[in-house]
Amino acid sequence: MYKLSNFLLACVLALSVNAQENAGLKLPTGFSATLFADQIGTARHIAINDKGILFAKLNNVNKAGQSIVRMEDVNGDGIAEKISGWGKYGGTGIFIKGNQLYASSDDAVYLYQLDANGEVTNPTAPKTIIQNLHSRRQHASKSITLDPQGNIYVNIGAYSNACQEKDRSVGSKGMMPCPILDSAGGIWKFDGSKENQSYAQGKRYATGLRNVIGLDWNNKTNSLFVTQHGRDQLNTFYPTMYTDAQNADLPAETMYEMKEGDDAGWPYVYYDPFQKKKILSPEYGGDGKLEGGKNALDPLVAFPAHMAPMALLFYKGNQFPAKYKEGAFIAFHGSWNRAPLPQEGYFVAFVPFKNGKPSGEWEIFANGFAGADNNKSPRGAKARPCGLAEGPDGSLYVSDDSKGAIFKISFNK
């Protein structure tokens, strides 16, 4: 009897150790993962300094009273032992440039100074770089990135689904022109070093973007790349035009290279990845086939609908095999608007790039975040990928904003 129970215990232990292999993730051959941190709070975007200290911006202040969490792996075992934090405001954006750390709330961007040891010197007294941006519930998070000249690019998401007169209502027409676009639905550019800027000091850099959460500066092309969240609910508002199954696949989530003045077409058009066309939105008289957006960009990459691209990162390191160099990693949060069909996403995808252009199909890089036996309901997902950061050694970090896990993915030479 005693032996049997011992044996069972050993089995259970073996199983639970097994379940922890690669922190539960499915990765390509040769890669491994550790659970770098867990339960830190609603970890949105992440940034890492040249000492390998990782910082996460939380969407809500956590139980420890922090909204920016600092994590350090002192002994190099892939798990952060030293965890601390500060900050009293929720938000999404965080970015490190040299010894400066930028973090955003839903209406402002703050700047912290890092000392020679990579420690923040002014946690309670950051400089306010940008303030009073629209934060109107929907798509309020402010993602940020900087270019080499020190300009900061901020996403100001549209506070609407499709710019209807009455948002998300059956039969309500699209407003023409869409009045939201003057102050949201695009990327704004500011000076990364000036204090107290707002709309008047910034400039609308690119427009026609419903909501961008993932964005990154590409040093090869010297230009801004973004991933857009496409519109929702074609089937609920136009049930005679779109079936549930069609809504589950329309429109594509899209990646664009945005130069100054570019327009991606929201709300007037959406991108149909099957017809490979920009289709006029039904709120603006479309029927699922009529084309529109003559002057709007075509996407560089079209991903399946509703999967919600949360972060975009161009890989600069040398740790991963050659095919990953200069390619794009995209963290997908996982869908909700594919219901009643099963939800999809909850993974990190990869798009190979050559000479600044996608050079092949996108593929799943890291999967299994939702949990092995999960029905993929948004609430039931174990983890929802949100932020990405590349460590000084070329490892890739992925944050989860539901339970607050940080995964570290490395290639084993």
Binding site: W336, A339, R379
Partner: protein, 131 residues
Amino acid sequence: MQFKIVSLVVVALFYCVQANAQNMQKGKKIYETRCLACHQADGGGVPNMNAPLDAASNVVGKDIARLVRIIRYGYNERIALDGFYYSNAMTANPDLKDNELADLLTYIRNSWSNKASAITIAQVQAAKKKK
């Protein structure tokens, strides 16, 4: 005599349960066409975005007037629900009739892990008068 009363009670109970099952079925239909997209098949909503109806204290609570108001006029406020905030804008349903509102409320109050009293047409009408 005794037998008659018992069978009457049985028949009455049967009708109650029956009506309830029918109301649940009708409520489910409305839920699937108007609510499921956001609140999901499991009633769990979408974290940070669409509030859950399953295990939500307000949904199984006593303030029926508030529930009727939210469903009729939509809901888009910065307010914590069981400690969490949700960013999406909920669609209004001004065209739902009193019996449909009753069935829908009965359904969301008695689905997933929720267990609360069924809602009658009279309760919906009383709730509407409160506003």
